[in-house]
Symmetry: C2
Subunit: 219 residues, 2 copies
DNA sequence: TTACATACATATCAATCGGTATGTAAATAG
DNA sequence: CTATTTACATACCGATTGATATGTATGTAA
């Protein structure tokens, strides 16, 4: 016990800062996801993190600063999950379902809803909302790039704008599904609709390919 | 001017009640849709409605009561829009796009977001949230019924559970699309994805029919 | 016209919001 | 070991929250 106390008290300043900030961000994410933006107060965040509001405001002068830090952390987490996926192979129709599952694993995660709470919750505050949107646009581009590369290597004929459109559609549906988590739906419900989404994407890619092949034979 | 004053002051009690409650509900919807649940306070609602908080609490003892009244009103509005659509014919693939457009006209309306603000905003309060969910389940059943009848009369072979699943998928995508309104997307973005959704539904219905036709020839 | 109910306003409540001022403990530079 | 900075706690601020208490205006039934 004493040793542990001594150990804790011997953290460097940068370690202390990193840990406290991390704890605060995680607490904020948890509260945003479960209670929503409106009920995620600086006091509840501090309590959840096990620090005081003084500590919170020391690291994040305003609540908005903390919210933006949550977005930063979320972007990092998403990127890490994506890189794990990028290491895997991508071989045709069967793996479309894997892509859908993976997107759901990222954006269907309860914690990810924190990001939407911030987007929606800050929409009245023009200043913050603008920064949030910029943040998001950057993140979105990073996420889509690997998909575009994969579709290129897979079909070689589907245009980038078509592939981008399909990717957008996947994210839209997955976002809609994530809203359903606020209702009392069973897991099979989500499974069914992820499956339908994967079917559709496969169908869409296939028909785009055939269309282009047909045009080429004509020329 | 005097006549008008006299006219207004000569409303019956039931008229006064109906008008004031309506004004309050409309104000709440407007604020929920634009500012969100957290920033929709009883005082801002009263101010927006042009009455005092005393009047608000006279008609709706608690904020929750007013929120449930918003859901009631929303259900009525949706039902009215549906009946207008039900009067129109339903003739095959082309009109699938009409159905999608109509659903978007209902659920993509900025004001409808008020309903989601309530669903999401009250999710911590178990008591209210339960009533909200029950309210919603009832409303959903009403919305889906005409679709099921139409698919029946159109194909005659697609099962009800398949048709219901497709309808759910449409709503999921439309909900996801409605989230995009908080980003700065151009109208063409929405048009593209509504079009894709319609394509998919047509494809799905068609392939389900062929599947069933194939099974019948086998027997 | 009287008696009463209903509709609504004013004033105010305790609780809580985001944020600040100030004091103390812990780490680090000299 | 000392001086200084950094991390964090305690205490508190004005503003605002949902809600209530009480008074007044308006409609209605006898």
């Amino acid at each position: 016990m004493i040793m542990k106390k001594a150990q804790v008290s011997r953290r460097s300043q940068i370690e202390r800062t990193a840990e406290t900030q991390s704890v605060l961000i995680q607490a904020a994410v948890r509260l945003l996801a479960t209670a929503g933006y409106g009920k995620t107060t600086t006091q509840s965040i501090a309590k959840e993190a096990g620090v005081t509001t003084g500590a919170l405001h020391h690291h994040f002068p305003t609540k908005d600063d903390l919210m933006l830090a949550v977005l930063d952390q979320s972007a990092i987490t998403v990127e890490a999950k994506l890189e794990a996926e990028n290491a895997m192979p991508f071989t045709g129709k069967a793996s479309i379902r894997d892509v859908v599952d993976h997107l759901w694993q990222i954006y269907g995660q309860p914690d990810y809803w924190a990001v939407w709470e911030i987007i929606i919750g800050t929409r009245v505050d023009a200043g913050v909302h603008q920064r949030v949107l910029e943040h998001r646009a950057q993140s979105m581009a990073n996420v889509m790039l690997p998909w575009l590369k994969r579709v290129d290597s897979l079909t070689g004929s589907v245009t980038r704008s078509d592939a981008a459109e399909i990717f957008e559609f996947m994210l839209i549906t997955i976002r809609g599904l994530s809203l359903e988590r606020f209702m009392d739906k069973d897991p099979a419900y989500f499974e069914r609709h992820l499956s339908m989404l994967a079917d559709f994407v496969s169908f869409r890619l296939q028909s785009l390919e055939q269309q282009l092949a047909h045009q080429e034979t004509k020329l």
